[in-house]
Every structure is written in C-alpha cells, then in structure tokens.
C-alpha cells in the first residue's frame, strides 16, 4: 500500500484525516463561542471592535480547514489513521514526565529534581550503562549551575530547602 506521499498534498497520508477533522471540530466550536466570548460595543467602527480579529481568526480556521479537508486525497478513515492516532497518544507519556518534573521542582528543589529527572528519563530511554547515567547526571548539574547559578533565571527555591540550616539554605535557594 502506498501510504507515504499523497498525490496532491505534501507529507504522509496517514493521520491527515483525523487531524483535519479534529482541528475543524475545535475551530467550529470556537467559532460558535465567538458571540459568547467577545463583546460588540455600539458606536465603535468595525475595525475597533473587540470581536473583529477573533472573528478573522476563528472563521479563517474553519474556512481554510474545511477547504483543506475537501482537498485531502483520502476521505475515509483507514487502519494507518488508527495507528497514527495511537502514536499521538503514546507521546502523552513524555508529557506526563515533563509535568511531573514541573510539579516537583517547587517542592523538592531544582537541583535534586533535575538530576533525578535526567537520570530516570535516560534510564527509561534505554541507556542503562553507568557511563550514560553519569553523563546524564553531569548534564543535569551543568544545566542547573548554568541557568540558575550563572544566568540567574527565575526559578523559586523549593519548600524542601527551608529545612536546611541557615547559610546552606540561602545558598541553595539562590543558586541551586
């Protein structure tokens, strides 16, 4: 089965239909909410209305996606679409990893969570040699030292750091 390249459109055929249908459905819902989510103020001209540009956006999304759907080479759901859909779901595992990382940093601290995250995800991806795990720990340490210690990006001190004794506590909150 030739499922790689469409005749009239670029890119693979698999997954195009579910994507277009899903995007059109979301766009249509957003377009239907236009009157509820924006206001029209009498006495102002069309281009100054708060509703004008959101309308351009949502109706453009609906119109162009509908035309895109109309021009798709295959308009029936097939097995490759289901396989592709499953692939989209699998990626949610890494979204979970990322959100867990975000959730844990303010609780446990940027340095310990980054070290644990880098090493655990490296392990999960199949690099289980001491060398790769060591590299992942070094990488985590370098990221924390560079961004929080050197570039002073705004990442708050963790709740756990409060338990540390005086000077060490300040150092950890400021630099790690």
């Amino acid at each position: 089965m030739n499922d790689d390249i469409g005749e009239s459109a670029r890119g693979p055929k698999r997954g195009q239909l579910p994507f277009a249908v899903g995007f059109l459905a979301v766009s249509a819902v957003l377009a239907a909410l236009l009157w509820d989510q924006t206001v029209w103020k009498d006495g102002k001209d069309l281009f100054s209305q708060a509703r004008f540009w959101p309308a351009v956006g949502v109706f453009g999304m609906v119109g162009f996606t509908a035309l895109h759907l109309w021009h798709l080479p295959r308009k029936r759901f097939a097995r490759p679409d289901r396989i592709e859909g499953r692939n989209w779901l699998f990626v949610l595992e890494f979204v979970g990893w990322f959100l867990a990382y975000v959730w844990l940093v303010p609780l446990i601290g940027y340095l310990p969570v980054t070290l644990a995250f880098a090493a655990a995800l490296t392990w999960r991806m199949g690099y289980r040699s001491p060398k790769m795990l060591g590299i992942s720990l070094l990488f985590g340490l370098a990221v924390v030292v560079l961004f929080k210690g050197f570039l002073q990006v705004r990442i708050p001190g963790a709740a756990l750091y409060e338990l540390l004794p005086g000077t060490l506590r300040n150092f950890f909150i400021l630099y790690l």
Binding site: L30, P54, F59, G60, F64, V91, F98, I155
Partner: protein, 546 residues
C-alpha cells in the same frame, strides 16, 4: 556620499558598544554555541533560541540579542558538518548541502567539501552584512515613510507570503496562520477593556505568551519527536589536514558565489520566503549556467557553493524588515522580536531615527560573528564532529530538561508549562504529518501588529481608497494583489498538471486480489487461450496425454 559619511560616523560611535566585555562574551558564546547546536542533527537554532529566550530577558538588550543573533547566524555553518559527513542536515536549511557534500565525502573529499562549505558560508554571511550596511542609510530615510497603514499592509503581505510559500499546503498554512491570529487575541482587548476567549479563567486574562507557544511548538515537540524515534548508527570519516583550501577554490567561482549571495539577500529581505527559496533559486542558476551540469547532485563544488552561500546570506538580510519595520519574516526573527519588546525597544522606523547606534552595533556584531565562527571552525572541526555522535533519544532527554527552564522561568507558572506541553503535542502532530508550524508563530506576531495598526490607520481613513493613497501603501497593496494572482495562477497550473498526470496513468488497482482477478479473466479470454497455445510451442510437449 553624504549618507555614507554619516553612516561611517555611526560605525565609529557604535564600535564603543562592541568593545564591552559582556557583548564580546555574548558574541563568543553565541557563535560557538550556534555552531555546536547546528552540528547536532535534531536540535536546530529554533529550539536553542526558544530555550534561551527567557534567559536573555535579564541581560542588556544588545547582549541578549547578540547571543541569539550569534546562534541564528552561525548554526548553518555547523549544520553543514553532518550534512557533508553523514548525509543528515544539521539544520533544515542544510538539506541541499547533502546533495553535493555527501557524494564528495564518499569519494574521499570530506575535507575539501567542509572547507568549501565554510568558505561559501563565510562569503554569504559577509556579503549580506555589507549589503545591510550599505542599505542602512537608505532604510533610515525610507523607514519614516511607513505609517500605520503601510505597516499594516506590510504585515498582511508578510502573512500572505508565508502562507503562499507553503506549496501544496497553502490551505492548512492559512488555517494555522489564522490559529496564530486567534491566539494573539486571547486576553484583554486594549481598546475596549473587554475579555476575549478567556473562558473566565484568570490565567488567560493576560493572554497567551508567545514564548510559551514557541517553546511548545519548537522545543517540546522536537523533544517528543526525538524521544519517540530511534537512534541512528553513525560512522564518521576521519578528517586530517587544514581547511583553508576551500577559500582558494571559492575564488575560482566568483560568479556562482556572487549570484547565490545576492539571491540570499533578496529572498532574506522578503518575509516568509527565506533560505529554502534562496537556495533553490541559486542552485538552479548554478546548474543551468555550469559547464558541467551533470555533476550536480554527484559532488559538484559549484552546487555546494550555491547552496551554502545562499543560506548564509539570509540571516543578515532577514534583519532588514525586522529592524526597519518591526516585521519578522520567519520564526527565528519573530522570536527575536519578543526580546525587543521585553526590553521596551520597538523595532521600526523610530528605532532607525532615535537609536541608530544600536542598529549599527547589531550589524557590526553580525560581521564579527562570521569571522569568529570561521576561525573557530578552522581550528576545531576535528573535535567538533564528535557531537554528531550524541544519540537522538538522549538529545530528547536534554531538550526536555532545558525546555523546563525556558517555560518555567517566565512566570513560574504551572499553567504556562501545561499550555506549552499542549502546544508541544500539537507541534509533534504537525511535524509527524509534515504540516507547517511557522505560520502559527507568524500569525501570532503579525496578527497583533495588524490589529493595532489597522485600528490606528482607520481613524484617519474616510473612504476605502484613502487607505492606499500614499505611494508606499499603493505599492504594498499592488504587491499583495500580485502575490495572490501569482498564487492562483500556480494553483491552476498545478491542478492542470495533476489532471494530465491522472489521465496518463492507468487506473488499474495494485491490490493482490484485483491482480488475481485480472489474471483469471485474461486466462479465460480467447486471446489468452491463443497466447498459451503459441507459447506451448516453445516448451516441451506434455507427455501426460500419450
């Protein structure tokens, strides 16, 4: 002449800015970092710039922009290394380099190919900076002629060009640009103080942050792509000797290098066109004008020069619409625009009038950057090639770890991270389906510009024709009509070609069952029987019947 003298005085004034230690360090970090990022396939400058953006907010505008400009300008140098050595472009725009670079490696000329790529890139980069410097006084004179309606029309032209540049995907690109426009409207409307699409959620009142979207669409999605993919086995060619020979060889092809750099500058200035078109045009020109066109795609030095010169001439030129009009032409310059905004520096006509020192300092930084990058590559290539070996999925781990810094350091907000993760999944799906991502970012940036400028322009317009009664507005409007007309023409021609192709090919099914059925009907026809009888004369007669 007077303009030039004035400009040279500006250069002298601006050089003081570049003498600062922090600017020098930013140049060094940006150039070396950009080469490294470019050399790792699967990372690319968009990911790096997206991650580093929030870190640059605490820096001085010139320092922050120099780092990002360094990454933007030097990543393509680095991207040529894996393109030539392992047939995998380091950045997307190095794809054409693989055509002639890798065949040269396979015949044992890797060093020559790399050396040619460096020298061509250097020439392209320097050429575009000189064009920028020469154009600066002219731009300073023209830029004030751009009022609200001209900037609105230029932004509209930019968005149309970005959409139409996506051949055979213009409809979905337009839908994505509209998504960007819609995203830019979320939050409080500044003119009426009314909420738009906030769904009564406090965290949406201030709108959707461009950097959150950019980090999701570029960095997180790329991390997901790498984590979900497989590692590739890479065998590297050993490199020995110096890399200077390419500069001598480049001198033998001044025409190809000059024309390709010019294509790069012109295409870089036009929003939405960029490196791909510039490369394609210069490569086609080089092939058509070459004495040995058959060598192209099989290790032609002219092909390599054309591709590398054109793509490196673009970054310098892309700064022209960004600085002069405040209109980004592609995703990377759109990201840089947010750095300007964070520091309350508004690119556009006023910047040229009030802060020319800053503009000239940026130009000079670009110039020095190219020299630094080439010097670094000439010395460190042998060590640098090792970064190509970093496994893909480990890179995914690294990008995911770094993306956290980018998103979380903005406002320490969990909802920002959630939104970025959502855009990451959306970007992942778009990349899997080979659908355009860039129009979303440009839709967000240009949509915002269009909304503000149209509102202020319409205050002084009585009839629709008043909108285009100034010369620049009329030219821009004519250009919009021309681009749309050309696009419609191309769509009609494409459709005709597709129809002709469909008529010329057989409609017979290729499925196994259909093949069996056709075979059976053929065997049962009279002609089939006749043919079998004829063929049996050449084979030994069966002895079963006797």
């Amino acid at each position: 002449m007077e303009l030039l003298t004035e400009f040279l005085a500006q250069v002298q004034a601006s050089s003081g800015i570049l003498m600062r230690w922090d600017v020098g360090l930013a140049l060094l970090v940006g150039s070396v970092g950009g080469v490294l990022i470019g050399a790792i396939p699967g990372v690319g400058p968009a990911v790096a710039i997206a991650i580093l953006l929030p870190a640059t907010f605490s820096m001085d505008p010139i320092v922050g922009l120099t780092v990002l400009l360094g990454i933007y300008g030097s990543s393509m140098y680095g991207g040529s290394i894996p393109a030539i050595l392992i047939n995998t472009p380091g950045t997307a725009v190095n794809a054409l380099t693989t055509y002639d670079g890798f065949p040269m490696t396979t015949r044992g000329e890797a060093r020559r190919a790399l050396s040619l790529a460096y020298s061509s890139s250097f020439f392209g980069g320097i050429f575009s900076v000189f064009c920028l410097i020469l154009l600066a006084p002219v731009l300073a004179k023209i830029a004030p002629m751009f009022g609200s309606r001209e900037i609105f029309l230029a932004a509209l032209l930019g968005i149309i060009l970005v959409v139409t540049a996506h051949r055979r995907q213009a409809l979905i690109a337009a839908a994505m640009a509209c998504l960007g426009i819609w995203l830019s409207t979320i939050g409080l409307h500044p003119a009426t103080y009314s909420k738009r699409y906030t769904f009564d959620q406090a965290w949406l009142s201030s709108g959707v942050n461009l950097i959150v979207v950019v980090l999701g669409l570029f960095a997180l999605s790329q991390a997901f792509i790498l984590l979900m993919g497989d590692d590739e086995k890479i065998r590297l060619t050993k490199l020995k000797g110096s890399f200077f020979q390419g500069f001598r060889e480049l001198l033998r092809h001044p025409r190809v290098a000059g024309v390709s750099a010019s294509f790069g500058v012109v295409m870089g200035m036009i929003p939405g066109v960029g490196e791909f078109t510039a490369q394609f045009m210069s490569y086609t020109y080089a092939q058509k004008s070459s004495k040995r066109p058959e060598d192209f795609g099989h290790g032609s030095s002219e092909g390599l020069i054309a591709a590398e010169t054109a793509n490196n001439a673009v970054p310098g030129a892309a700064m022209i619409p960004l600085l002069a009009l405040g209109i980004p032409g592609e995703a990377l310059t759109a990201m840089m625009l947010s750095v300007f905004y964070v520091h309350n520096v508004t690119p556009g006509p006023q910047l040229f009038q009030n802060d020319m020192d800053f503009v000239v300092a940026l130009y000079l930084a670009l110039l020095i950057l190219n020299v630094l990058v080439v010097a670094f590559l000439l010395v460190a290539t042998n060590q640098l090639v090792k970064v190509v070996k970093i496994p893909n999925r480990f890179l995914g781990v690294a990008i995911l770890t770094l993306s956290f810094v980018g998103v979380y350091s903005l406002r320490n907000s969990f909802s920002d991270c959630l939104l970025a993760a959502g855009f990451g999944v959306f970007g992942y799906i778009l990349k899997r389906l080979d659908l355009p991502v860039v129009p979303i970012v440009l839709g967000m940036v240009l949509g915002n510009i269009m909304e503000v400028k149209l509102r202020s322009a319409m205050a002084r317009v009585k009839t629709p024709l008043d909108f285009i009664d100034r010369p620049i507005a009329a030219i821009l409007f004519a250009l919009i009509l021309l681009v749309l007309a050309l696009h419609v023409r191309r769509v009609i021609l494409d459709r005709k070609q597709r129809k002709a192709r469909a008529w010329s090919t057989s409609h017979a099914s290729t499925s196994f069952a259909a093949n069996l059925s056709r075979r059976r009907s053929f065997l049962l026809t009279e002609r089939g029987k006749r043919l079998r009888a004829k063929r049996s004369k050449f084979s030994r007669p069966s002895t079963d019947e006797s």
